[in-house]
Amino acid sequence: MIDLRKAYDRALVSMKDAGRTYHIILAILLVLIAWGGFSWIRIMFIDGAGITGSSDLVPWGIYIVGFVFFVGTSAGASLVGLMIHGFGRKDYEPLGTRAILVGFLSLTAAVLFLMSDVGNPIRAGLLPAVLRNPTSMLVYTSMTYAGFAALMLSELFFAIKITLQGGKGSHRDEKMAQVLAVGALLFALMVVHAPHGALFAFLKAREMWNTPLLPAHFVTVALASGIAVIIHITIVTSKITRKEIVSKETLSHMGGLLAFFLGVTLFMDFFDYLVMSYSGKPGGLEIWHFLTTDFYSFFLINTIGMFGAMVILLFKRGRTIPGLLIASTITIIAILSYRWNLIVVAQIPPLFPGTGNIYYTPTVPEVAVVAGIVALISFLYLVLTRVLPMEETYQENRQMTIEN
């Protein structure tokens, strides 16, 4: 069994050892969390949701952008588990716990975003249990969060157990970890994320969402964003702690995977927009018009960013540490603008001619809540990676082998 007292002492020491910069970052994050929490209370209980930028014409705003992005990341992060346990790539092992943490915290962020968006969060908590309508996709997606969270927590449990036993668990534990890892990825993509695409694809009122490609598109974007976030975190952590977490070859392999998913996404994007621009449907034409004129900057960041990142990653020479860092950062920004386009721009074209110029700009309290939620999960990530026993990094592993 895990000795709790020892674990606690170890965590305390590890937090104390962390250094000044680490504590300063934590303090900044705490300030952001407080700001976000204050704004959340203002929106929910004092001033009302009216102080956000959403309106009757654009009912869904930046919260849903964040929600969709983080749901995608959480699903994509499960890919590392599949790599370790499904494909037996032991070189990914140092990332195991981190990837589960990224997935779990992203899911937490997504649920928090959803809860900030709804008008009555307490009632929304009853959603899958008491209140439900079998024809609504939102019921099924909200049901899946609990299952996905449970899967990831059990994954985390086994990962920690195996780590504590010195990286080599009992046969039963290894088997469990394997089943959970493969199950989590399938669950994440098929049960959690594809239905999120369907959530939007079912709405015939909005031309940009109402495409059968959307669920598949969501899956590939999810994988791309998950891998990009993990590459980014790995490289940044290695740089800060001056410790190689995984080898260059592993990172390069992840870069290759990212390039593949970016390629598939771009392929689908291309045909989606092509069909939209050829369809001649007024709504479709209008969205095409919006994407390429009013919101062209986001559209360009999205397409050129993804394409650029893919080109960098396609070549072996681009898959070096700086190249990977640049490519993953570009990918994250590109996918964020893709989500912005998907959620906000899809609601901008008026449903009737003559409505006027519909717009959506996030307000300060809204942005504060978003910053607060992102700060909260970053805080938890920073603390948990210190407190929880992590797998041996690539460097430690190599040093040990050399010493032996």
């Binding site: 009216g50 309106s55 009757d56 008008g119 024809t135 079912f202």
Partner: protein, 271 residues
Amino acid sequence: MLNLPVLLEAMCSGPRDWDLLQKIRSGPRNWVYWVILSRVQPDLTPQNLKERWSPYRESSLEWCITLFETESVTGVSGIYHPTENPGAGTTMMYTKLRKDKWYMPVQCNHCDDAPCVQVCPTGASYKDSDGIVMINYDKCIGCRYCMVACPYQARRFNWFHPEVPYKDRNPLVPMREEGVVEKCTFCVHRTRTGKGKTTRCVEACPNKARTFGNLNDPDSEVSRLIKSERWWRLKDELNTGCNIYYLTRHSKKRMRWYKPLPPPQNIRGLR
């Protein structure tokens, strides 16, 4: 937890509730609305209005919209609406049908196959057996999924806490709290009383542009109108089965064109 038979039935029969539709079609009441577009006049003169109506509002359109406020029926605060939250009339959108602009009242169509009812996760939006799509304000979680699903922009969210003085409230209509969605209800508190009362906007329209009635009653005016074959419904290609019919009246006289209203101001989300 999961109601398997209901789920299976929903999956096999598709989201359309045919049974309910049959019930509505053969039942005692099936409410529909008619809007005679050529009678929608945006700028009746104040004099004109004074003669026929109380002189609160300058134009009949605004009048039609603010009526909802006095009735405190629904916050279908539209493109022209006087205050933010307490609820104001229909969405008035103009659409370019002919060479000049027409003003066209758009509100909840109480669709037969309502996208909002399909997507509402809590079942707060539902279709009643007399064809009216209603919202249970005590169930609504304010997720606004129905708002993005409605092709007619008919739904309004309560962004702020409603501040309507007691004397302005209608005791027959519940106040909607902050954080729930609301829309036109076809004035259920009047029409369902069975005393032959019609909706407030039909009563109020100075030009008698609107007709409200029971389609299952062969003697009603709406049943007579539907034989005209000159009607059309908004976005019929989406197969929502609207229950608001627009009628473009045949007239020997040239249609009158009206000066458009000034552009709307101070509307959230609109520039």
